[in-house]
């Protein structure tokens, strides 16, 4: 059963864990210049884009939630220093691996070609300046989501480097994620044994809530779970997991508590309208348990441990949760990266077994 918070959330328990979501940040567009090909370097310099930081607007760098106070850097955006990542997280909690998920404006740009050029540069940069510098680091391939063809090309280009373990998308971009226009991305990912990581975020060309534009971050952040529910509903209903039976999807920073209720509703409704989506022969919940994983932080834990147990029962599978610190975002203090009240055997699964099953490439280099 559960240990006390300080004990099981702390350092010793996390040694050897796999941290499935950390956020190195591109310090400035200038650092990408050497990693761009000649044409796009010239293009960016002519437009003066190297002076823009091209951050997405959902997590502004100075918002308190965006960085734990003791993880702020003397200069540069949170998460932009490898040395700081090593001392704050890698050397302290001693995970065996940490997966870098870069969130950047390149992923939501309107120009498909510029978006693709910057994504290529980011992947080159993360490889040279992070993966090559610390053997514990792995990364997701950043792709231009609005051009499935260019995204698939980038997957093909990066996949031979086995330190890329996932393809990164955002939950709310221009199309519901299950739509067939996106399938080249899933085809390429499946072929290379790469899960699709779906991170919280939006291109903000449409409101993050179906009701329109919110006024406050509070609304935006909470609406993300509806965005994830819609994205998951789209992936399941459009038959992505029937078409790509080996594909896994990791919902990153989605929270967890919304999932059981969303699945109950999906199952219930499916029984009556099954004939409309005849490729779905199985209860949607079964499909989701098989193909979908969720990272832990930020964990929207219910108020009591008893309620947490109920939630875990409702999830109905001990293989779905993956440990994440969400470094440098501020979701826990000290070393208590694991929420209190998780049973010890589940902690082992969350920290090691489930990530290894989800990211088969990690096993190749397990020490």
């Amino acid at each position: 059963m559960a240990h006390s918070q300080g004990d099981h959330g702390g350092r010793d328990c996390l040694a050897g864990a796999i941290d499935c979501d950390i956020h190195p940040a591109v310090p400035s567009t200038r650092v990408l210049l050497p990693y761009l090909d000649d044409y796009w370097r010239e293009h960016i310099l002519r437009r003066g884009l190297e002076r823009e930081n091209l951050e997405t607007s959902s997590y502004p760098a100075n918002a308190p939630i965006n960085c734990r106070p003791d993880w702020r850097l003397p200069s540069g955006p949170p998460g932009s220093s490898l040395a700081a990542l090593q001392s704050h997280l890698l050397d302290r909690l001693r995970p065996s691996f940490a997966i870098c998920n870069v969130i950047h404006g390149a992923q939501v740009m309107l120009s498909e070609d510029l978006s693709a050029a910057l994504c290529r540069a980011i992947n080159n940069w993360i490889r040279a300046e992070w993966l090559d510098q610390d053997p514990r680091l792995r990364a997701s391939i950043v792709v231009p989501p609005h051009s499935a063809e260019l995204a698939a090309e980038e997957i093909e280009r990066c996949a031979p480097d086995r330190r890329f373990v996932q393809v990164l998308l955002l939950a709310m971009t221009e199309l519901p994620l299950g739509r067939r226009q996106n399938w080249p991305i899933y085809r390429a990912a499946e072929a290379h044994g790469l899960p699709i990581g779906i991170h919280a975020g939006s291109s903000f060309r449409h409101p993050p809530s179906a009701l329109g534009w919110p006024s406050y971050y509070l609304e935006d952040y909470v609406s993300q779970s509806q965005g994830f529910a819609a994205a998951l509903n789209s992936l399941v209903s459009e038959g992505v997991f029937v078409k790509f039976p080996a594909l896994k999807v990791v919902l990153i920073e989605s929270g967890v508590t919304w999932l059981p209720a969303s699945l109950w509703r999906l199952d219930k409704t499916w029984r009556g309208v099954r004939s409309e989506v005849p490729w779905l022969e199985q209860l949607p919940t079964e499909t989701v348990r098989k193909h979908v994983r969720l990272t832990l932080q930020p964990f929207d834990a219910p108020p009591t441990e008893k309620q947490l147990q109920t939630l875990l029962e409702q999830l109905g599978s001990d293989r779905m949760l993956l440990f994440s610190s969400d470094y440098p975002h501020w979701h826990f203090d000290g070393d208590d990266a694991l929420p209190a009240g998780l049973p010890a055997d589940l902690v082992r699964k969350i920290c090691v077994d489930n990530p290894l099953e989800t990211y088969p490439r990690l096993k190749e280099t397990m020490r």
Binding site: R180, E238, G239, V242, K243, W270, R271, G272, V273, R274, S275, P278, W279, E281, L283
Partner: protein
């Protein structure tokens, strides 16, 4: 168990059904081509008059977009929440192993055989010249 004569064969045309009452129970008698099947007129979900639903086909797709119409006229769709059931077995499509409508044995017998053997004619008068639908219950 008794055998109950519930209709003349020609009273139930292919693709149609007739709801009869046997021992106080409503049963839907379905004709699929020249085969007859019986299902309890009570949906295992929440008790709707199942056999009054629409007679439909089984739509399948081995892969998204690869549409196939199979088993035309062999499914009944519940009039309340649209769950589909196999007319031949009573099995639901959404949960075939645990959600099933009770199915009854239905046979076609010549009047000559019925006149000889034990059967309950209830409201259908039997003559040797006709062919009848018989439910065992």
């Amino acid at each position: 168990m008794n055998r109950h004569v519930v209709a003349k064969v020609e009273d139930i045309q292919p693709g149609t059904r007739k709801i009869v009452t046997v021992k106080g129970r409503e049963i839907g008698i379905f004709r699929v081509g020249d085969d007859f099947y019986g299902l309890i007129n009570r949906c295992p979900h929440q008790g709707a008059p199942l056999c009054r639903g629409e007679i439909v086909s089984r739509l399948v797709a081995p892969s998204p977009g690869d549409y196939r119409l199979t088993r035309p006229g062999e499914m009944i769709r519940c009039p309340w929440h649209c769950w589909e059931f196999d007319i031949r077995t009573g099995q639901s499509l959404c949960d075939p192993n645990s959600v099933q409508a009770r199915a009854f044995d239905v046979a076609v017998e010549p009047g000559r055989a019925l006149v000889e053997g034990p059967f309950v004619a209830e409201s259908v008068p039997v003559t040797v010249e006709e062919t009848y639908v018989v439910v065992t219950l």
